[in-house]
Amino acid sequence: MGAHIEQSARAVARDVATGARPAAEVCEAFLDRIRSEEPRICAFNTVVHERAMARATAIDAARTAGQTSLRDQPLLGVPVAVKDNMCTTGVPTTASSRILRGFVPPYSATVVTRLEAAGAIVIGKTNLDEFAMGSSTENSAVGPTKNPWDVSRTPGGSSGGSAAAVAARMAPVALGSDTGGSIRQPAAFCGLVGVKPTYGRVSRYGLMAFASSLDQIGPFAHTAEDAALVLQAIAGHDPHDATSSTESVPDFLSGLDRGVAGLRIGVPRAFVGEGVDASVQRAFADALDRWRAAGAQIVDVELPHARYAIPVYYLIATAEASSNLARYDGVRYGHRATPGRDDGLKNMYERTRDEGFGAEVKRRIMLGTYVLSAGYYDAYYLKAQQVRTLLRQDYEHAFASCDVVAMPTTPTPAFKLGEKTDDPIQMYLSDVFTVSANLTGLPAISIPAGLSPERLPIGVQLTGRMFDEATLFAAAHALEI
């Protein structure tokens, strides 16, 4: 069994397509692995045994009947873990919030539909910080997920369940969502490749909205190749999401081997020098050396406004969240507070939301409500949008002299569970290197870059030009060789 669950998604699909391994056998192997590992890791909110096995059996029958094709179904028989803020028809989807306990969506997110069309099998829904608000998966109504490398530590967040599921080999690949680093930071903490695609690259239809100008869905995988394979399946315009781009989607896999010869890698030295753990500095320097040895050119760039990215992010993300989360009102779905005898509609709303939301979600809704309120809008929200423009200009200038920008993904390796839960600002600062990609819309990837002395994974991040994920995959692949 061990060797099988360590197969790449690409190898699994190839084996299922040739009949070398039935999809049902693959699915059973991962369900067995979930049975043995899940009690220790707590990565899943829901495991869909029957649905997954039924699909696997159907895939095997279709293959026997000659109705499958690896070209049309590049993820044939590949189990996928999906973050529990993406809707799945008939399977509970809770965003790890009490307010959506028992919610069973009547439709699937476009990413889920596309994965299934590509032959993938949804094996379960993974834990997250409630509504994707957090950096440790501790803000979950179902309890924290543990890091498979050290269960006393966080897997990161908010997509911590997806990262932990892949790191513990409970699924070969997974989907997460990234609003300020929620794919890349857990990928770094769990030793995985994690991609935040260009804003607009992937449809958000069926993703529970947190901050609509920042949210993007992307893959977790052990290799750049598997991450590219998953992004290929989910990318592209969707009429159901008006913000999804009509930009054509290149073949990410064919460019994977093109190497980094001549690639100009920009390093914002002043920004990445501050407050970064020595082990992370060393891993980052090693990665740059390896890219240089492979033919890349390392150049200095300046991002003078990057140090304002966290405050800008928390003003913009919370403002958008306060509006997006207004829909959770106890009327159409989810939790409703038991009414008192004389309660009217307004009391019902207020009590439902107080009972249904956790502390971090309430903090962010209130901060967002405040910065959008009369008298504060210009000083906070408009100002943040202007600094967002300055940050975009920083990257435009940087891309005049480089092709990608490199930084560590996080200032430290995975921190201890409970270490930052009482101090929201310290928790926010773990996203210092990741939020800029969301504010600018640029694609970014976290790549495994070795281990710390405590044997914890460290990630390096590359940010590319708009819609240039292909270069990120090629550069990531170059570090794997």
Binding site: P239, G344, L345, E350, R353, F357, T369, T389
Partner: protein, 97 residues
Amino acid sequence: MSTTLTRADVTRIAELARLELTTDELDLFTRQLGDILGYVEQIRELDTSGVAPTSHVLNLPVERPDVIVEPLARPAALANAPDAAPEAGLFKVPRVI
């Protein structure tokens, strides 16, 4: 403008956000929101006069043909409601007035 946030401010924000807070929550959030505002204030040191705001990074006009599509069936739309009158096809809420 000051970043000092009072309990009255937080009570007002909570009401705007339709959140009924307990006394403990009110104390905690008054302190924490004040701290967060104090932290984010640093952007005010930047001169942004004449800088256009970014609300969205892809400012493309989005158009589509105006065609009628099949909506979610009413029973499916009502299936998750905590209280509903499916026979009438309606959601139910407490009294409004």
